[in-house]
């Protein structure tokens, strides 16, 4: 039984943490072949070859595969699908864009955001913003799966597996890339950070968010935000944590001026230690917090930053 794993490649570079977590999740399903695609992907393929559990890497470099446009990448995966019983990827926005398209082309259902592997056909996934966990058994010949990275530990390193170059399939030419707006940051990546400091509507403005960022920098943490904070323009969209944003499970999550709506909790309640700072002692965030501090964030956050 064989697994084809779509590695997460951004601008030619392997997103190691997300890919290694998906490899760890997929290992028990069979021999893992990692697929690296992009306008350039050779360096990513070399890096993927060193993830423990990868037995082979396929590398497809083609201008039409740049920026991971769904149509071209899905067509390539479908052309390879016959050799594999499982087609998997980390549950990133790229994979969420591509895998359902692959599944429909193969006439199979997709299993998104899988948080547990029971056996080769049976998987657990959260539904209703994580308020229920469903165990489902697939009757399809090919199982197309995205793995929720926050629930798996990243696979380690190994001596490099062989890399094979393959060619792209014909590009259907349905879409083209225009531009990316990606903010460069020295901070750790939100989904792999050991500590996350998140701010909500209570922070009040984009300028005030500097306070959240100062605390994060003191702790070497990534910065997160609630939907309300993103909608209000205090923080960029890629900081959103929750049901429809990123799912994180760091060692420490500090929620500041966040009420704790279920949609937010869906993205952080598996964190190891949760701290909440909120002036409303009734705020639902306190129900999931290990340590709750009822205080005005404008007093508490600078003090905390200083004393840590």
């Amino acid at each position: 039984m064989a697994v084809l794993l779509l590695a997460e490649v951004n601008d030619g570079e392997l997103a190691l943490d997300a890919t290694a977590k998906a490899v760890a999740a997929a290992k028990s399903l069979g021999d893992v072949t990692a697929l690296c695609v992009g306008a350039t992907a050779a360096a990513a393929a070399e890096a993927a070859a060193k993830i423990d559990g990868v037995s082979k890497v396929l590398c497809a470099e083609d201008a039409g595969l740049g920026h991971r446009l769904a149509e071209a990448t899905a067509a390539l995966i479908v052309s390879l699908a016959g050799d594999y019983e499982h087609i998997v990827a980390p549950a990133t926005t790229d994979a969420k864009n591509i895998l359902p398209r692959v599944a429909a082309l193969l006439d199979v259902m997709v299993l998104t955001d899988v948080s547990g592997v029971v056996d080769g056909a049976t998987f657990e996934r959260p539904i209703y913003a994580g308020n229920a966990i469903q165990t489902v058994k697939s009757s399809d010949a090919t199982k197309v799966i995205s793995f929720r990275t926050s629930t798996f530990d990243a696979a380690g390193e190994q001596a490099a597996a062989p890399v094979e170059t393959i060619s792209a399939t014909e590009n259907p030419g349905l879409s083209e890339w225009v531009e990316d707006k990606v903010a460069a940051s020295d901070r750790p990546e939100l989904t792999s950070a050991g500590v996350v400091v998140s701010g909500g509507r209570g922070v009040g403005s984009e300028e005030n968010f500097a306070m959240i960022e100062a605390l994060a920098d003191k702790l070497g943490a990534a910065v997160g935000a609630s939907r309300a904070a993103v909608d209000s323009g205090f923080a960029p969209n890629d900081w959103q944590v929750g049901q429809t944003g990123k799912v994180v499970a760091p060692e420490l999550y500090i929620a500041i001026g966040i009420s704790g709506a279920i949609q937010h909790l869906a993205g952080m309640k598996d964190s190891k230690v949760i701290v909440a700072i909120n002036k409303d002692e009734e705020a639902p965030i306190f129900q999931v917090a290990d340590f709750g501090l009822v205080a005005d964030l404008f007093d508490a956050v600078p003090e905390l930053t200083e004393k840590l």
Binding site: N131, T135, V182, G292
Partner: protein
Amino acid sequence: MKVLVPVKRVIDYNVKVRVKADGSGVDLANVKMSMNPFDEIAVEEAIRLKEAGKADEIVAVSIGVKQSQETLRTALAMGADRAILVIAADDVHTDIEPLAVAKILAKIVEEEQPGLVLCGKQAIDNDMNATGQMVSALLGWSQATFASKLDIEGDAATVTREVDGGLQTIKVKMPAIVTVDLRLNEPRYASLPNIMKAKKKPMDEKTAADYGVDVSRRLEVVKTSEPAERAAGIKVGSVDELVAKLKEAGAV
């Protein structure tokens, strides 16, 4: 241009979900149901396209139980022109899988020939995030998912997408499938006169069998369980106490 907007009836996002004691699913009997919030955003966008003179007709479609007609009435009250209800289940607990929904939608697209299908990016019940991509695959159309901005000019649409790294803008050929994200717009509330008017707007009633689509599940639900509960925490009285507790717990 005609715009097709699929809408799903789901548990209201404010309702606390209860897992049934026998593990068979989530209790949906006598629970407040609403239009999937992402689908409201899709309906709103379609209406704005019509108001801008870029669309001339909005057709809302819902696939599910008979009660989904309430969801369609909401879409009509917001401003959709007509509706198609496809009855594919009798029990409110039956969730039709995205693949089957996509197959039915693809058939409806063949009949209706819209220039654009606007879907919500995910349904807040099964959290699948799949239907739009699947419709697009079945039709061989271009797809633009997680849209926070949509501009249609001639035979192409420029779409800004919310992705893990930030924002990506792509240009897709029309006809296209666009799935919408939270920040595309803020949906309007239907006014009372529009709710009254919506009652007279046409709603076709079909069944999954009319489209020759088998809706039986590919993913058998083995069980549904409660997530692990977190142990109760404590309140600390000061920043000093918080720092001490964090050090004690080895968290900093």
